[in-house]
């Protein structure tokens, strides 16, 4: 039996969809027994959502006022305590997991594998490097705890239908006071979440201004799609940072990805290459985005977007 601990990500009483994908990865470890750990100030709601995921054997709920915000320095020592007896500790490759899991691994004195995309065996894993331009197979010595972040774009969500038990546990460990949460500013929007939306419309530098980026929002609204942006568009201030797609932004795998005015630097392509269908619209027929697009259209986005919006 391989005991796999999955660290839940959540906010506002909602389990982040990345956790259900981590559970899928965890269940792909041979002979896995999957436990989800929820660290929260009050986490009954989140724990119940985790318990409802198929493949989860039990949920551990660690409630502490200090866990109101996901600060890695505060969570890591608690994760280490809860991880006792587990051979694998998984978190999502979101900013939450990428912040927390290396800290957990270092406290455990073991290496961490980032962005695991395939589990070959309990000790052998595949992960991308060089912005996805090479895939490595990593072997971890038997007996060493395997701490991973899971590349969530590589996995589907664990379905509902589970009925795991929820167990409250108290963790006796000193927590640091040297790191304090002040605020998080997230733009409120009714748009589908970029990381889980089945359709995503993304804009690049060719949009030319934040005002013109409105064309992207409009088409996205028409298609009920999430909105993404290239690094160039974010750097130029056309779109906020949380919309960035690529090596250093979000890695996504929607059914439909529409790249509008995005030339397709390799750092961007690595963020979308698991999309089912990629559409590229660009006025430059030589743009690298056309090399990986399933459907390409050369032309002026300012004429094409309103037409597509009307016809769609």
């Amino acid at each position: 039996m391989n005991k796999v601990l999955v660290i839940a990500e959540h906010a506002g009483g909602r389990l982040n969809p990345a956790t259900a994908k981590c559970v899928t990865c965890a269940t792909s470890v041979p002979d896995a027994e999957v436990t989800v750990a929820v660290f929260a100030a009050e986490g009954a709601e989140v724990a119940a959502q985790a318990a409802g995921l198929k493949g989860v054997a039990r949920v551990l709920l660690v409630e502490n006022p200090a866990n109101a915000q996901p600060l890695a320095a505060v969570l890591a020592p608690q994760v280490v305590k809860v991880a006792t007896g587990h051979g694998h500790v998984f978190g999502p490759s979101t900013t939450f997991g990428r912040d927390l899991m290396p800290r957990v691994a270092a406290l455990l004195g073991v290496p961490q594998l980032s962005d695991v995309m395939a589990v070959d065996s309990a000790t052998r894993f595949k992960r991308p490097v060089y912005a996805g331009n090479a895939i490595t197979t990593v072997e971890v010595a038997a007996g060493s705890v395997v701490v991973c972040t899971v590349r969530v774009a590589s996995y589907g969500s664990a379905p509902a239908g589970g009925s795991a038990s929820v167990e409250k546990v108290s963790v006796d460990v000193a927590l640091p006071a040297h790191t304090r949460f002040i605020s998080v500013s997230a733009a409120k929007s009714d748009r589908p979440d970029l990381q889980t939306a089945p359709r995503v419309v993304a804009g690049g530098r060719a949009l030319g201004s934040a005002e013109n980026f409105e064309l992207i929002y409009r088409l996205a609204a028409k298609l009920n799609a999430g909105v993404g942006a290239s690094r160039a568009a974010v750097d130029a201030g056309y779109a906020p940072n949380e919309m960035q797609v690529g090596q250093t932004g979000k890695i996504i795998a929607p059914e439909l990805y529409m790249a509008i005015g995005i030339s397709g630097a390799i750092q961007h392509l690595t963020g979308i290459k698991d999309a089912r269908t990629i559409v590229a619209i660009n006025k430059d027929p030589e743009a690298p985005i056309f090399e990986i697009a399933d459907i390409g259209l050369v032309g002026d986005l300012f004429t094409l977007l309103p037409e597509i919006e009307r016809l769609a």
């Binding site: 890695a72 320095a73 912040d99 927390l100 290396p102 800290r103 691994a105 270092a106 406290l107 073991v110 290496p111 961490q112 980032s114 991308p128 490097v129 060089y130 912005a131 996805g132 331009n133 090479a134 895939i135 197979t137 990593v138 072997e139 971890v140 010595a141 060493s144 040297h178 790191t179 304090r180 002040i182 605020s183 998080v184 500013s185 997230a186 733009a187 906020p240 940072n241 949380e242 090596q247 250093t248 979000k250 059914e255 439909l256 269908t277 990629i278 559409v279 056309f290 090399e291 697009a293 399933d294 459907i295 390409g296 259209l297 050369v298 094409l304 037409e307 597509i308 016809l311 769609a312």
Partner: protein
């Protein structure tokens, strides 16, 4: 006045097209341009700006790698670091080994702040900063896009999935630099000349008491699966038709 340590990793230049060796033992590095990891350049730039604001006195650039990594440390000195330390090691450096190495140097140098890139563009691991913070038992502020001193603490804005998070951390602390923290300066020729005279100490892992071994090892490299080349459509109507036929809209 405080001291800042900056991590400088030597990586294959960001513009190079990566090719996996046919025998699956790694990627082609012969004759390939090497540079400072772009995120480490941003880390160094931030340290320089803190010093230029009068909030730090000294900047030490630290690299771990082969002898040739001295080139990247010289570039860091030309950008404005005061001195550099190369921890010589041939072969791959696991992020935990890198963190242990930086921790050993932190013990000697007692910096108030360590800034590293949020990830290196070769292994894309994004681990060294948080691992160092864990070993040092100090705060970490990862994916930083803004850093401000407030008395003895730092207020750091972080680029997280939800948007921008602001945290306050006590010093000493570890920061990992994200893309929009700043735009690194270009190195000027006279600075390259001056950098040749700046101190660059060379040590190694053994001297620092760090074991290079790791329980995790890469056993195989392969190129990624390629996507099939698609079709071109001639106008908006054809595109919308194609998407409707596939049931995508």
């Amino acid at each position: 006045m405080l001291k800042i340590l900056v991590g400088i990793k030597r990586v294959i230049d960001y513009n190079v097209r990566i090719r996996v060796k046919p025998d699956g033992t790694g990627v082609v590095t012969d004759g390939v341009k090497m540079s400072i990891n772009p995120f480490d350049e941003i880390a160094l730039e931030e340290a320089l700006r803190i010093r230029e604001r009068g909030e730090a006195a000294e900047i030490v650039a630290v690299g771990i790698g082969p002898d040739d990594a001295q080139q990247q440390l010289r570039t860091a000195l030309a950008m404005g670091a005061d001195r550099a330390i190369l921890v010589k090691h041939d072969g791959p450096v696991d992020p935990l080994v890198a963190a242990r190495t930086l921790h050993a140097i932190v013990q000697k140098e007692s910096p108030a702040l360590v800034i590293v890139g949020k990830q290196a563009i070769d292994d894309d691991a994004a681990q060294t900063g948080p691992m160092l913070a864990a070993l040092w038992d100090r705060p970490q502020a990862t994916f930083a896009s803004r850093v401000e001193f407030k008395g003895d603490t730092l207020v750091v804005t972080r680029e997280v999935d939800a948007g921008l998070e602001t945290d306050e951390v006590d010093l000493p602390a570890v920061i990992t630099a994200d893309l929009r923290l700043n735009e690194p300066r270009y190195v000027k020729l006279p600075d390259i000349m001056k950098a040749k005279k700046k101190p660059l100490d060379v040590t190694d892992l053994a001297a620092l008491g760090v074991d290079a071994g790791s329980p995790a090892r890469v056993v195989h490299w392969e190129p990624p699966a390629q996507r099939q080349k698609g079709v071109m459509v001639k106008d908006a109507a054809e595109l919308v038709d194609a998407l409707k036929k596939k049931g995508l809209i």
